[in-house]
């Protein structure tokens, strides 16, 4: 039995705006699930519905086999870590972490032990007597996490917890969250708009757009087998290159190239012969010294690799070469596509053609 089940969740606000449509998800014990999508896609609303901070318009929420849809937030045994930490400024780190347990009137010696144990896990032992304003952003976020840990809840909810941190600290905290998840083996639902965070942290990603779930799968599945154009474009940095091509019987063609199709693709594209489809290819699956001319627009060196932004006729494309390249603007370079890693999408439905 899954630890958490979200069955047909819907959210319609009082002004009749529907934020979430028919959200279904099963989460296993100890699973790290990331809800990812652009701003306004409904991911935070979904999280808040799970926490009980938003009413569920329709659908059911089940944790450990119990339907908790109508149960108030305080009785759900769920810990919520907010983006802006939500620490009590007048309390010390120790008091912040102990606060929820004090409210529950737990034994003070046990509270003490739990706070110390959580502080040890999070590396906050030396900071316990400090007030939040004396801490760095990363430390504050760890306090917020510590406050959740001490409660030993059934489910952890994280709402963009790293958004307020600078890039370096965000990377460090991301690693710490991974280690923490391994240590605690906690069931976590984590919301982010950063697809890199989603790819690195998640056991399972739920990609959302406009209130709809676009795809649920492992990071590998979302990256290498996107269900539709939205997922293909949203997951991965740089995003997948999408080119309009025409399907012929044994090949695909565009004004600048014609690539023969292998048997697998011939089969999957047989219904599209004579039609236009969208071809998707990731930047790292484009290689140099092919036979397709690309006009360089920007040469972006990243150290270990170089991103080349260019134009195939009038279609913009990004290539990633694993070397320090030094092309100039308007240089013409020859590229090729790794056919093993090409995706096709229906132009009308935007769904992947497999």
């Amino acid at each position: 039995m899954p630890k958490v089940e979200l069955i047909g969740l819907k959210k319609i606000y009082d002004n009749n705006v529907q934020a979430v449509y028919d959200f279904n998800l099963e989460i296993e014990e100890g699973e790290f699930v990331v809800l990812v999508g652009p701003s306004g896609c409904g991911k935070t609303t979904t999280l808040r519905m799970v926490a009980g901070l938003e009413d569920i318009t329709d659908g059911r929420l089940i944790i450990d086999g119990n339907d908790i849809t109508a149960i108030p937030p305080k009785d759900r045994d769920i810990a919520f870590v907010f983006q802006d930490y939500a620490l009590y400024a007048h309390m010390t780190v120790y008091q912040n972490m102990a606060f929820s347990l004090v409210l529950r009137k737990e034994n003070s010696n046990l509270i003490h032990k739990k706070v110390l144990a959580a502080a040890e896990i999070l590396g906050l032992t030396e900071q316990l007597n400090k007030k939040p304003k004396q801490l760095s952003g990363g430390q504050r976020q760890r306090v917020a996490i510590g406050r959740a840990i001490v409660r030993n809840p059934k489910l952890f909810l994280f709402d963009e917890p790293l958004s307020n941190l600078d890039a370096k600290l965000r990377n460090a905290m991301r690693r710490e969250l991974l280690l923490l998840h391994k240590k605690l083996n906690a069931t976590i639902i984590y919301v982010t708009h950063d697809q890199m965070e989603a790819l690195t942290l998640a056991d399972k990603i739920v990609c959302m757009s406009m209130g709809y779930v676009q795809q649920i799968g492992t990071p590998l599945e979302l990256y290498y087998k996107p269900n539709n154009l939205f997922v293909a474009n949203f997951i991965g940095l740089p995003p997948m290159n999408l080119l309009d091509v025409e399907v012929k019987r044994n090949a695909i063609s565009s004004p600048l190239f014609e690539i023969p199709l292998d048997l697998h693709h011939q089969k999957s594209l047989k219904d599209y012969v004579g039609k236009k489809v969208v071809m998707g290819i990731r930047a790292e699956h484009i290689y140099e010294q092919g036979d397709i001319p690309l006009k360089v627009w920007v040469n972006e060196n990243l150290g270990q690799s170089t991103l080349i932004h260019g134009y195939l006729k009038n279609q913009k494309i990004i290539c990633k070469f694993k070397r320090w390249a030094n092309y100039q603007v308007d240089d013409i370079i020859k590229i090729g596509f790794d056919f093993e890693n090409i995706h096709f999408f229906d132009k009308e439905t935007t769904m992947a053609i497999r």
Binding site: H112, K113, K114, L116, A117, E120, L128, I149
Partner: protein
């Protein structure tokens, strides 16, 4: 260690609120003494002692308040300060109230009331001093011993 290790370890992160409260009660009792003494101004004789009394009361309140803040954070040396101030409160009975009473300027009722305020103040301050001394000594020894409380499995 005479007390539970966890209870002592908690002191590292929790203020000694009881010692602080005892100090404040001692201070409040002195405020009552102060008000009552000068409310009976008609009965009082105007000498330099009145000025000294006012200055002492102000200094007393300042020092007790500062000590209260310090004993809250287990600063042992302030328990000595509180103890001395507590003892002085007893001796103060024999200063203005007793002298005024002996000179038949103050009524017996006022003399008793003022003496009770000073005794109450003294008791609170000495209790605060004893508690603070005891707790701060325990905490100091605990920190020096480098003992660790057993971890919990519940997190």
């Amino acid at each position: 260690m005479p007390r539970d290790l966890v209870a002592i370890d908690k002191m590292k992160y929790k203020k000694d609120s009881l010692a602080f409260a005892l100090c404040i009660f001692g201070l409040l009792a002195n405020v009552l003494y102060f008000f009552t003494l000068y409310r009976n101004n008609d009965n009082h004789y105007y000498t330099y002692q009145m000025g000294i009394s006012v200055i002492y009361n102000l200094l007393f309140m300042l020092i007790v308040f500062l000590s209260a803040e310090e004993v809250k954070a287990y600063q042992r040396r302030y328990s000595y300060v509180l103890f001395v101030l507590g003892v002085i409160q007893i001796f103060r009975i024999f200063y203005i109230p007793k002298q005024a009473y002996d000179a038949e300027i103050m009524t017996a009722q006022n003399y008793r009331t003022l003496s009770i305020y000073l005794i109450i103040s003294s008791v609170f301050l000495i209790l605060a001093a004893v508690r603070s001394f005891w707790n701060s000594t325990l905490l100091k020894r605990y920190i020096e011993s480098n003992l660790k409380i057993p971890p919990t499995e519940e997190v």
